[in-house]
Amino acid sequence: MPVDHTGTQYSVSSHPTATEHRLANGLRLVLSEDHLTPVVAVCLWYDVGSRYETTGHTGLAHLFEHLMFQGSAQVSGNGHFELVQGAGGSLNGTTSFERTNYFETMPAHQLELALWLEADRMGSLLAALDQESLDNQRDVVKNERRQRYDNVPYGTAFERMMALAYPEGHPYHHTPIGSMADLDAVTLDDARAFFRANYAPNNAVLAIVGDIDPEQARQWTEKYFGSIPRYDGKVPPPDGSLPDIIGTELRLEIEEEVPARALMAGYRMPPDGTRECDAADVALTVLGQGESSRLYNRLVRRDQTATSADFGLLRLVGAPSLGWLNVKASGGTELAQIEAAVDEELARLGAEAPSAAELDRAQALLEREWLDRLGTVAGRADELCRYAVLFGDPQLAFTAADRLLSISAEEVRAVAAARLRPDNRAVLAYEPVTLPGQEAGQDGAAGQAAPPGRDESQDGAGQ
């Protein structure tokens, strides 16, 4: 434990706890009580994501997530949305590489409705799934792709980064949104087969968090989900292991209609669930999170070669994680100048451990992030599901911040030395096709590249 760490005196509201249960059909249930506010979060994680998709079938997991909102045996077309929103709830689903999640946050007295709805589609989606829904949602998803990736500056950066950093044929080589051609090719039979293979109770974790009576919640879960048959034909996830180091710098020079030069780099990092991954998180925070990180101070404040400099960690369990550096150049700055400074700062961290004050700052930021994440019933439910699905133990959610706080300065240095090297990165170098400076002013917040968040693709009410 670091000395004089500023953040350790507070903790998640009232030290939450969780209990675990398993139905006879294999559905795992995690319950966590919190009576502060009369709300409840229902979160259901299915252990399936885009890593299961094969060549020619990219985007299927995400498109399927949309189909889950198109009705089931007892729920009409848009009934899921209508019933939840009409009950004063909010809802959504998201798809990432390693999981698909569905969630409802409800006024506490509407918990039973949310469970009934989730059980109905887990057990009977195929009773309602038809060609019309598939064709409609295929068009919606293609427009989602255009809106979020194809029609915004740097919008395809994340997709290009994954394609560059993870080799051809690797399960993480493509992102959850998928390609237009593959989306066009999805058939009703593909969707049905996908459902049968993955949407079974023994491939899911249900978390219920909030103002609940745990015994009642357990009984309702048994009542609504208990009769859904298990499926034992699930194949294990494809092997995503790779050598620790890429071995050579991979590089893509991109000339595109973007407003500024940009340097993006993906470093191959340790997989989630390891102490080295937590050390990497701290290292990247020292380097590139917040407004007093090393790279922010160097590039934005001192050199003034960049308008922004962020370094974040995309945690992956079934493959090496990705350290994602995103620097937008200032004015006419050449990327070579930025790159030299980045290399210098990364090498410096590898050579010399961060100061106590720097470590303190990074860990306070990370602890705050966890405090925010576990501070709502929906956030807590999602994290409990995450640790249950990916690591087999939901309780790990409550100790995640402690693990980050236990990382030493030397561990930070070591992971930086081992990983943050030019021969261990994939680089996207953006060059505008027309130089900036000929356009008029504009309002609002900055345009952004697709972030390397865990929720790569989302379906929703479009808020």
């Binding site: 500023t6 953040g7 507070y10 509201s13 009369p38 045996a73 077309g77 848009n78 949305f81 209508e82 929103q85 009409g86 004063g88 909010s90 946050t105 006024p107 007295h109 039973e112 409705l113 009934w116 059980a119 109905d120 057990g123 009977s124 195929l126 799934l129 064709d135 409609n136 068009d139 919606v140 998803v141 293609k142 427009n143 989602e144 255009r146 809106q147 915004v152 500056p153 049905r192 209609e257 407003p259 500024a260 407004e291 003034q304 937008k328 200032s330 004015g331 303190d360 306070a364 602890e367 405090l371 900036p436 400076g437 504009q442 309002d443 609002g444 345009g447 009410a461 479009g462 808020q463």
Partner: protein
Amino acid sequence: MTDAAVTMEFHPQPGAGTPRPWSFPTPERSTLASGLTVLRCHRPGQQVVAVEISLGIPLDAEPEGLDGIASLMANGLSQGTAGYSAEEFAAELERSGATLHTWADYLGVRVSLEVPVSRLRKALGLVAEALRSPTFADSEIDRLVRNRIDGIRLELANPGRRAAKQLAHELFPAAARLSRPRRGTEETVARIDAAGVRAFYQARVRPANATAVIVGDLTGVDLDAVLAGTLGSWTGGPAGPVPDPPPGADDTGRVVIVDRPGAVQTQLLIGRIGPDRHDPVWPALQLGIYCLGGTLTSRLDRVLREEKGYTYGVQAFPQVMRSPAPDGAAAAPGASVLVISGSVDTASTGPALADTWSVLRTLAAGGLTDPERDQAVQNLVGVAPLRYERASSVADTLADQVEEHLPDDYQAQLYARLASTSTEAATAAAVAAFPASSLVTILVGDAAQIREPVQALGIGAVTVTTG
């Protein structure tokens, strides 16, 4: 059909349990000796305290030709103080697990802090230092100016931002601050220097004009003592009055295409001027707009997304732009911009607009149904405990009320007013909000492909612009 074979045991849809009462919290209002107004609100369990400081500086206070100076001043507050360099200040805040955001909008300049309650005193001390003794060093302001100019170029490339800029330009006369970007243009920002920022700060940033909203679990916190040792040390007399010219507006029906050759989608932004939240019509307006475009089961998405697949989603919403005190000396009432916003694939631009107008005409002809109205009320009212789970959302709403000169119990009362609004009133408000004959339509997209089909719709004269 074997695919539909279902082996689970079905149960009827369950009913609801007994709701636990919930109401939007009532803040406690007080005033420090410096004149700073304080709104405090204890929220059990919220270990991350939210502090929203509204400085009471609308953009109308910006000097002529210096659009963006309020925003730069706000950003400059945290870039060095009497006691800390810019780097030290950021590091001290971050070591406290705190996040600080500062920004300027038409209604006011805001300083927004979130910090674990154990570090509230430390972080509030830093914020007080930023408000009391910012240095606005030449080098820092020059950097912010250059970054801002780069930022303007980034934003211009975003179709949604570009559309918003054009809509404001179309709706409001050029002389009105509301017609121009919040954070200025390249031209106006380039004129801003540190001396100007310091002068603007001196003239406008005063505790007597400001309100601090503090929300969180304050158990065991002597907030008065914390305030005395932090924000209480920020002093100074009141600022002079801010000019308040009536904005005027032109919402004659027309279409403006911002040309983006080769764009795969068209960004739609269809808008008009509406009232502010003082207007008694507001609850009906909120309900009506929700029924039209609040969610994917609302009328617009039901057709455009769920039937036709033209879009990932279209939303309708109001945004308050001007909200003078109702009993004040303002020459004109408040204003909002009511919009329908979304993006559609380029080839579907004409059909999507045709369907949008068809939805609006159907609404005007037949009105909303009772079940639609009930669904909207149940969502907007029922979702409140979720929406206000975190301290930051409570603080944000309270600070918005302050900036809009609304009473502290506005949000609490709004829920009761929504519940008593009739279907007829919601229909009338929605129809008045979006009259098919006079809407300003901004399209950011490929003019060569969309111009003709849009012209054929007869929704107003079509012009094309660039940039």
